[in-house]
């Protein structure tokens, strides 16, 4: 019932689409390689062990590395438990549809709010109102609110993919709901939770505006979470903004390379861990 003409036309159209898609994807990949290559080729010359592990001005970025780690740990320590518990609540105990709907809407809204507004909020509430000043704690609290939607959504997605059969199997053995969640559901959702964590880390590490407003740019090695500090991203931002010495741009490139490499490593770790867990689960 179909003409040869139509079939040929279809083939041409299909080919055209394929070419368009190929162009689009190539564009994306080319820009990715360009950005990464641009940053790393300019920065690699400056990177060395002493660059990462020295605190001395003009030589090393150790304080920034430490502050970044502090911030990551602080915000994850706050956001992960809250996020996971919320996701579990939404997904496993959703017997109050109103509450669930409200919480979901709130999360959707939170997810869309520009990060600078989180910064304003953190500045007003944590730094000024609660008197934490610009500190790692204030920043960690702010960022943890910011990554909460990411963690909740991703965790929820992975909880949703845990087959109902696992829950039924466990409950049918006379376990309580909490035992079931803790022993069967959460472990199965682990890869997803891991992805959430990594996405959260990426967001925390990459964020500039809210960190600038709540953590500050103190260049010292922080000694506690009540100290102010400067993250790698802020360092990079600051170097491009206030470049005081000619070599600052070199350092900026090197810092950017460290950031890009960090993101790369985090991505590789996620991928590996996820495939590892998947393999463990499926075969």
């Amino acid at each position: 019932m179909i003409g040869r003409v139509h079939r040929t036309r279809r083939r041409i159209i299909d080919l055209l689409h394929l070419v368009l898609m190929g162009t689009a994807t190539t564009t994306i990949v080319v820009f990715l390689i360009w950005i990464v290559a641009y940053v790393i080729t300019n920065g690699l010359g400056t990177i060395s062990l002493s660059f990462i592990f020295s605190s001395e001005r003009g030589i090393g970025i150790f304080p920034m590395v430490v502050t970044t780690l502090y911030i990551v740990i602080a915000s994850l320590t706050i956001a992960l438990p809250i996020g996971i518990v919320t996701a579990v609540y939404l997904n496993e105990y959703s017997d109050k549809p109103r509450v669930v709907h409200f919480v979901r809407t709130a999360i959707e809204t939170l997810a869309g709010i520009p990060s600078i507004l989180y910064g304003l909020f953190g500045l007003l509430v944590f730094a000024r109102f609660f008197g934490l000043g610009q500190s790692i704690l204030a920043g960690g609290l702010t960022l943890s609110i910011m990554i909460l939607p990411v963690i909740i959504r991703t965790t929820e997605e992975s909880l949703r993919t845990v087959p109902q059969a696992f829950r039924e199997g466990s409950l049918a053995l006379g376990t309580t709901q909490w035992q079931t969640i803790y022993r069967v559901v959460l472990p199965s959702a682990l890869p997803g939770i891991l992805t959430a964590t990594i996405l959260g880390i990426g967001r925390v590490v990459g964020e500039a505006a809210p960190v600038l407003l709540t953590v500050g740019i103190a260049r010292n090695l922080p000694r506690s979470i009540f100290d102010s500090g400067r993250t790698l991203t802020i360092h990079l931002y600051y170097l491009t903004k206030e470049a005081l010495n000619p070599e600052d741009f070199q350092i900026a490139f090197a810092t950017a390379s460290v950031l890009v490499i960090f993101v790369l490593v985090v991505n590789i770790i996620t991928k590996t861990l996820t495939t590892y867990f998947r393999k463990n689960m499926e075969r």
């Binding site: 520009p114 304003l120 505006a209 950017a256």
Partner: protein, 345 residues
């Protein structure tokens, strides 16, 4: 959180800046104001709101230098050697509450001395750059979504997806940096304009930044479309491409919309990268090469330097951003609701 920002940001439209007229002496050892002598006084001197006139008597040596007092409306200054060490008298007349319509429609943002807070150009710039980024980025993202999820062999697909995820994890400052060093000069050369810092550069960088968001979420959505739909379509003699667009893509619509929405939110909220490439002039754009300033950029640029009403006004800008996001969310919920009801009823 909403409450906090709102509380701070609504104040300038309700309250005047100060309860009464104040006089501030800068580097002036002594003066007599309304017959009271102030010596080495460094705090604001609040006047009685009932007072009908203001009489200031300066020390002799300053009076000799008094010149041309009206060139700055509220400040009388005396020639001195170095900035910061000048002798000046400031008379702070409380400003009335700022008019909200003027805030929304005003074309001029001169926050420091002329106290003009018009954000209309910034609203326009924010909307235009977001829209532009969507128009430029979405088709590219969607096309490659389909290619990655449906046509690439699984190894290559995994590789490209990982690469795109890497793109998603790169800090926005790095994008801004790249934009400043590569895109901005490129645009200047391309258009032959005075400068390359422009709305075009912002759109370009933003579209680059929303690509990974849309692609990652879109690919996940497309991959989660049941195999059964593909089989059904292929079994009906549709080509792979027809199947991809008419069945798979349509079924993944809801997820893809989520991706586009999150991308839009990212474009709307992006700050650091935009600051580095957009030029930040608070003017209405007239061409692609016009330098523009977005709402988020204004907050980030001025928060650290602002004081008093200027500071509160930045929170007001935050409120406008909130409202934009709420509108966006509402619109999406509508859209998604429509799509869901389309599917279920």
């Amino acid at each position: 959180m909403v409450i906090f920002v709102f509380a701070q940001g609504l104040a300038p439209f309700i309250f005047p800046t100060a309860p009464s007229v104040e006089v501030v002496l800068e580097n002036i050892p002594s003066a007599r104001i309304n017959d009271l002598l102030y010596e080495n006084y460094r705090r604001a001197i609040s006047l009685d709101p009932e007072a009908e006139y203001l009489k200031i008597e300066f020390p002799r040596e300053l009076q000799d230098h008094l010149s041309n007092p009206e060139h700055l409306s509220y400040t009388l200054s005396f020639p001195g050697t170095l900035p910061g060490l000048k002798s000046r008298i400031h008379i702070n007349i409380p400003e009335p509450p700022y008019s909200f319509p003027m805030f929304m429609t005003g074309r001029e943002w001169r926050p420091v001395y002329r106290k003009l807070y018009g954000i209309f150009p910034m609203i326009v710039a924010t909307l235009l750059s977001t829209l532009g980024a969507l128009l430029l980025g979405t088709p590219v993202a969607l096309l490659s979504c389909v290619l990655i999820a449906e046509f690439l062999p699984s190894r290559l697909s995994l590789l490209v997806t990982s690469a795109v995820e890497l793109l998603a994890g790169i800090p926005s400052v790095v994008y801004g940096f790249f934009g400043l060093m590569i895109v901005v000069p490129g645009i200047q050369r391309l258009f032959g304009s005075a400068s390359g810092s422009s709305i075009a550069a912002a759109i370009f960088i933003l579209s680059l930044m929303i690509l990974p968001t849309i692609v990652t979420i879109g690919v996940t959505a497309i991959k989660s479309v049941p195999l059964a739909y593909r089989e059904a379509s292929l079994a009906l003699g549709a080509t792979k491409m027809q199947t991809a667009w008419f069945v798979v893509f349509t079924s993944a619509k809801s997820g893809i919309v989520t991706g586009v929405v999150l991308g839009t939110a990212r474009a709307l909220g992006e700050t650091m990268a935009v600051i580095l490439v957009a030029g930040n002039s608070p003017q209405l754009p007239t061409a692609l090469t016009s330098s523009v300033r977005t709402l988020t950029a204004t907050i980030a640029l001025e928060m650290g330097y602002s004081a008093g009403r200027h500071n509160e006004m930045l929170f007001s800008v935050g409120i406008i951003l909130f409202v934009l996001i709420f509108l966006l969310n509402g619109f999406i919920m509508r859209l998604r609701g429509k799509m869901l009801s389309e599917v279920s009823s």
